[in-house]
Symmetry: D3
Subunit: 290 residues, 6 copies
C-alpha cells in the first residue's frame, strides 16, 4: 500500500483489505490546489488499479485537527486565478473560475466514486472544506471533541464544493442547515449527530474514533464485495432519483449482480459455520486496468 | 371481509372501514414466491374492488416474529430461476431474473397504490424483506420488542425489493442507512425511531402495538376519504418530485378534489357538533370495477 | 420601512437591515384572499425594490396565536368560487379553482423568492395554513408554547398551499408527516423539533422567540449579502435537484459570485480585527427596479 | 397462435415468430371498453406467456378503415361513468373517471411493454384513438390511402390516451402537432410522413402496406432477440431520459446483455455464411410464467 | 379590445373571439426594455382578465419586417445595466444582469402562459429576438418572403431569451440548430419549414400570411375552449416531461376536464348538424379576476 | 499542432484556430481499445491545454471509408474481457464489462465536452461505431457517397456507446430510428438528411465534404469564442432539460458571459466595418492547466 502514500497523505493497511488514509499537511491540513488534486487522485487510483480494498477509513494525522479548510495563502484555493481582473476579460475569468471549481468538486467527490465504502472519522477542528469532504463519504463518525463549522460565508462566498449539494440530502433538517450555513457558527459533535450529519459520536478524540471506524471497516471487509459495492451504488442512485426510477434501475442492476457465486458462498459458510471467502471485486485482466 | 383471507394471510375488520391484515405462514412468515404474490394481490384487490376500506393495519399473526424475510428453501425467492446457468445463456438468465425482480417489487410496493392509508405495526423479528415491506406503508409503528436487520448483504446481495429506494427518503440519516446496510447488524426499535424508520415505539409486544395502530386507524377512518386519499397521493408525489413540480400537480389535482361535498359535510358537522358522515371513495358503478 | 406596512401587516426595522414582519389581523390572523395577497405582495415588493434588507423575522402581533389558518367565512379562501356549481359547467369551475390555488400558492411561497433569509418565529396556535407558511421560510424557530396542527383534512381537503410539497423535504420522517396529516392531531414544539419542522425551541412565548430570532437575524445581517443570498439560492436548488445537477449549477453560479469584492473585504476585516462592511446586494440603477 | 384470437381481434402467424394482429370489430373498429381491454390484454399475454414472438404486425381486418376511434354509443368510452353527476359527489366522479383513464392508457400503451417490436400498418380511416394507438408502436407504416385525424377536440376534450404524450417526442414539428390537435383537420399519409408520424408510405391500401410490414417483420425476426429487445428497451428509455442518464442506464443494462451467446453465434454464422440460429428470449421455466 | 392597445402594440378583433396583435414600433420593431415589458404585460393581462379570447394571431404592422431584434441603442436591452463595471462589484453586476434576463425571459415566454392558442405569422426580416419570440407561440406560419437569422452570436453573446431552450424541442435537427446559431447566417422560410421551425409557408408577404393565420384562428375559435386550452396545456407539459409523467398528469387533468358540458354540446350539434355554442373559458366571478 | 498527432490520428491546422482531425488506421479505421482511447484523449487534451481552437473538423484519411466500426479481432472492443466466463464469477465479469463500456462511452462522447464546435464530415462507409461517434459532434455533414448502417444488432448486441442515447434527440423520427436499429439495413446520405441525422449533403466524396466543413469552420472561428462556446454549452443543456430548467440555467450562465468585452468588440467592428478580434477563450494561467 505504501505506493499510494504521497507528500501530504499517509496510506496504511492495518487489516487485510482495510485501508487507513491520514491527511498530513502540517500544521492544520490546509488545502491548496496541489493537496486537493492529490486527494482526488488517490481515490481514483484505488478505484482504477483494482487493488483489493473492501473498506477505507479517512482521518487526519494530527490529533487536534481534521482540517482547517482552505489554505487562504493560495489564492487559487478560493477558485480565483490570481490574475488581475481589471485587465482580464471578466467573462473569461468567470469561465476559468468555473473550470477550477468543477475540477475541485470532482476531486472532493471522489470517495463517492470508489466501489468500496469510505468511513470518515473526524475529530478536533472540522471546518469549512471539511464539511464538503465528509458529504461524499459513505459513513461519518465523529469524536466527541470534534468542532464543526461551515465557514465559507465568513469569507464572503457560498460553499461550492459539495456542502450545499449533500447536506439537504443527508440530514432531515433544512432549517438547521440554513442557520449553520448563514451564520458560520460552531456546532458540536452532539448537534451533528442530532441532524444526521454524523451517525455516531465516539467518546474521546482521534485515537478512539479511528479505532471504532476501523472496527466497522473490518466488519464490512468480511462481507461479499459484490453485495457491498452494489448496495453503495444503489443507495447513491436512490438519493438522486425517485422511488420508481430507483426500482427500475435496481432491476437492471441486480439482473446481473444476482448471478454472483458469493450468494452460494454465503449459504455454504452459514451452513458450515465457516467464514465466507470472496474473490476480489475487480477481475485481474488487462481491460480492468483501462 | 373473510373473502379476502387466503392460505397464509388473515383479513378481519375489527372496526367499520378498518381492516387488520395478519401474515400467518408458520413458523416465521418466510416469503416464497406464492406468498409475496398473494400479498400483492390482496392489496390490489382491495384497491380494485372498491370495498369501503378507510384504513388498514398490517401485522403478523405470530407474536415473536413479524417476518424472517425470504424463504431460502425457495431458490426463486432469491430471484434465481433455479436453472443451470452453465448451460443457459447468461443474458437470457439475467433477463428472466429481472422479470422476477420487477414482479416481486410490484407486489411488495402494493400498499403505496391503495387509496387508503396502511399502518404497519411491527414486533419481534423484523428482518430482511421486512424492511422492504414497511417502506411503502404510510405509517410505521414498532413494539419495543422489535429487532430489525437489513440482512441481504449477508447472503451476498444488495437489497432490491425497495429498502434502498425508500430508506434515503424516509430517514434523514444516510450515513446510518449505509452502515446498517453494509454490516447487516441488528438495531432496536429505539434506533429505528431515532432515524424516522418508525415514527412511534409502543411499549410491549404485538398485542400493544396492534392496539395502538388500530386506534390510529379508527381516527383516520372517521375523516373524509376524499381528503385522506388525496393527501396520501400528494405526499407520495411530493417525495418523488421537486417542490415546484409538486405544487403544479397539486393545483391540477385539487381542482377537482375541492369540488367534494365532504367539505360542506365537515362544516355542517362542526357547526352541529355532530359526527361527519362520508360516502365511500369509490362510486359503485360498473366502470369502477375495471 | 413604514411604507411597507399595510392594513393587517406591520413592518418595522428594529436593527439596520433587519426587518420584523408581524401578522396583525385581529383576532386570530384568519386568512382571507385579501390577506394572503397582501402577504405575498409584501415579500415580492421587498425583493423588487432593492431596499437593503439582509434578514427578516416573521411573527404574529398576537401573543397567543400565530395564525388559526383559513378564514372559513370567506368561501374563496377554500379555493371555491362561491358560484352555484349545479348551474356552472363543472370543468370551468375546476379551472377557476385551479387558478385561485396557483395564485394562493404563489403568495405563500414568496419568502422562498426573496434574496435574503426569512426566519419565522412561531408561538401559540400555529394551525393549518401556518404549516404551509413556514415551509418556504429559511429558518423556523418555535416558542415552547406553540401548538401545531395540520388541519386541512378535518375540513375535507388535502393541504394544497405547500405543506405537502415541503414537509417530505424538511423532515426526515415521512411516517410522522403522514400521521399528522391524516389525523390532524395537535403536536407540541418539542415534537416539531424532533422531526426538524423547527430547528430550535425557545423557552417561553412570543416575546422570547422573537428576541432570539432577531438576534439570529442580526448575525446574518452582518455577513456578506453576496455569500448569504448565494447560499440561500443554492440550498433551495439542492433541495429540488440531484447532487450532480446541483454541483453543475453551483459551478455556473459561483463562476460569477466569486468575483465579488466581499471576499477581499472579509479577509481585510479579519486581518485588521475590524467589522466588515458590505455594499447592498442590489445595484441602485434603473434596471434593478424592473 | 389461434388461442390468442378473441371476439374482435384476429391473431395469425404468417411466418415463424412473426404475428399478424388484425382488429375486426365490424363495421368500423369502434372502441368500447370491452374492446380496449381485450386489446391491452392480448399484448400483455404475449409478453407474459413467453411465446417466441420476434416481431408483430398490427393492422385492421377491414380494407377501408383502420379505426374510427371511440364508440360514442358507449358512454364509458369517453371516460364517463354514465352516472348522474347532479346527484353524485363531483370529486368522487372525477376520481372514478381518472381510474378509467389510467386503465385505458395502460391498455393502449401495451405495445411499448412487449419485448419484441410492434409494426403498425395503417390504411384508410385512421382517426382519433388510432393516433393514440400508433404512438406506442415501434414502427409506423401507412398505406397511401390512409386518412388521419386527431378528432378529440371536436367532441369537446383533449386527447388523453397517449397522443399528446407521444407526438412531441416522435415528430420534430410541435407547431404542426398543435395545429392538427386544435383543428382536428384531416391529413394525408404524405403529411404524416413529412413529420415522422409514419416513417414509410406504401403505395396502395391495406394489402400492400401489410405485405411490406410483414417483410420488415421477417427481417427483424431473423435477428438476435437479445439484441433487438435490448435495443427496443433502450430506445424507449432514451426518449424519456437525458443523454447522460441513458448512457449510465445502458452501462448497467449491457453489462449483462453482452454476456449472451448470440454474439458468438452471429460471428460463427457470418464466418460460415450460414443463417444464425437464436434461442427464444424467454427461458422456459416456472418463474418465467409469473 | 382597443383598451389592450398601447403605444407600440395594436390590438384588434377581426372576428369574434379572435384577436390580431400587431407590433408597431417604427421603423423596425426594435425591442427596448419598455417594449418587451409591454409585450409580456399584454399577454398576461389577456390571461388574467378573462376576456373571451379563443385564438390570437401575432404579426407586425410593417410589411417588410417582423422585427430586427434588440434595440442596440438601449444598453439595457442587452441585459447590461449601463453601470461602470470597473467601479461596481462584479458579482453584484452579474446578479443584476441575471434579474433582468429572468424578467426579459418571462415577458417573451408569455404566449405559452395564455389559455388560448397563439399563432404567429412572420414575414420579412425575422431576426435575433424574433426567434426567441416565436418559440413560445403555439403555431408558426411564415410568408415566403420571410428572412430568418439567429443573430446573437454576431454581437458576442449566446441567445438567452428562449431560442436555445425551444429550438431543440421544436425541430428534429439539432445539427442545423447549431450551425444556424454558431454562424448567424440567414435562412429562408423554406429552410425554416424543412426543420419544423415553421409548419407552413404561405406564398407572398404579410398580407397573405396574416390572412391564412386568421383563417386558422377562426377555425380554432369555433371549437370547445375547454378542449383547446386543455390540449395546449398538455402539449406543453408533454414537451417538458417523459411519456409516463405526462400520462399520469393527463389522468389528473382530464379527471375534471371531462366533466364539461362541452362534450354534450358537441354531440348535440353534430346530431343536429348545428354549430356548437360554448361558454367562455373563464367564469365571470370576482375570484377569476385575482 | 503536430504535437497532437498520434499513431492513428492526424491533426493539422489548415486555417488559424481551425483544426482538421483525420482518422488514419489502415485499412478501414477499425476501432480497437487503443484507438478509441487515443481518440478520447485527443479531444480532452485540446480542452485542457487551452490551445486556441475555435472550430474542429473531424474526418477520415481514407476516401472510401469513414470507419467500418469495431475491430472484431479485438475481443475487448466488444466490451468483453476475453476471460473464460465459465470459470469467472459472472457478476464480476458483468461489472468489468460495465467499467469498459463507461470508459468507451466517455471517450466517444469527448467532442461534446470541448468548448469549441466539432463538425464531422462523413463519406464512404459510415458504419456501426461511426453512428455513435457522430452523435456527440455539433454539426454533421455527409458526402453524397456516404453509406450508413447501425450494425450492432447484426453482431448480437444493442448499440451502447451513444447511438441510442443521441438519435431520439437528434432526429424527429423515432419510427425510422427503430427500423434502422432493428434491421441494420444500409441507408443513404439523402435518407440521413431527411431525418436530420446530417444537416447537409455535399455532392461528391471526402474531398468535397471536407472542403465545405472547413469553410463552415472558418466562419465559426471568426466569431466571439465566448458567444460560440456559451451557445454550445446551452444547446447541450437544453437537449437534456425542460424549457423552464434551461431558461433558469441560462440566466445563471449569461449573468457572467454577458460581462465579456467581446460584445463591445463586435459593436466596434460593425461600426468600423472592421474584422472583430477576440482573445482566446482560455486564460493563459497556471490554473487553466489543471
Amino acid at each position: 500500500m505504501s505506493q499510494y502514500s504521497s507528500k501530504w497523505i499517509k496510506v496504511t493497511e492495518p487489516f487485510p483489505h482495510v485501508l487507513l488514509v491520514e491527511l498530513a499537511r502540517a500544521p492544520v491540513n490546509a488545502f491548496n490546489v496541489e493537496f486537493w488534486k492529490a486527494y482526488g487522485d488517490l481515490f481514483d487510483a484505488l478505484t482504477e488499479d483494482g487493488y483489493d480494498v473492501r473498506a477505507l477509513v479517512l482521518s487526519s494525522a494530527f490529533p487536534k485537527i481534521f482540517t482547517a479548510g482552505l489554505d487562504l495563502n493560495d489564492a487559487a484555493a478560493l477558485g480565483s486565478d490570481g490574475s488581475d481582473s481589471s485587465t482580464q476579460d471578466s467573462a473569461r475569468t468567470s469561465l476559468a473560475t468555473r473550470k477550477t471549481l468543477l475540477a475541485f468538486q470532482r476531486a472532493i467527490q471522489a470517495p463517492e466514486r470508489t466501489p468500496f465504502p469510505v468511513i470518515v472519522a473526524v475529530h478536533g477542528h472540522t471546518i469549512g472544506l471539511a464539511i464538503d469532504m465528509i458529504g461524499p463519504c459513505d459513513i461519518r463518525y465523529a469524536a466527541s471533541d470534534a468542532k464543526f463549522a461551515i465557514k465559507e460565508v465568513d469569507i464572503g462566498l457560498a460553499p461550492d464544493i459539495g456542502t450545499l449539494a449533500h447536506l439537504p440530502k443527508i440530514t432531515g433538517n433544512l432549517s438547521l442547515v440554513r442557520e449553520l450555513t448563514y451564520t458560520c457558527r460552531s456546532f458540536s459533535a452532539a448537534e451533528a449527530l442530532s441532524i444526521g450529519l454524523v451517525s455516531r459520536v465516539v467518546n474521546g478524540g482521534k485515537e478512539e474514533v479511528v479505532k471504532e471506524a476501523l472496527e466497522l471497516a473490518k466488519v464490512i471487509a468480511s462481507k461479499s464485495p459484490i453485495a457491498v459495492s452494489s448496495a453503495k451504488h444503489l443507495i447513491t442512485h436512490s438519493r438522486d432519483h425517485s422511488v420508481p426510477e430507483n426500482l427500475a434501475y435496481t432491476g437492471a442492476w441486480n439482473a446481473h449482480a444476482l448471478m454472483t457465486k458469493d450468494i452460494a458462498e454465503t449459504l455454504r459458510a452459514t451452513a458450515k459455520k465457516d467464514k465466507a471467502k470472496f474473490a476480489p471485486l475487480t477481475l485481474n485482466t488487462k481491460l480492468s486496468k483501462l
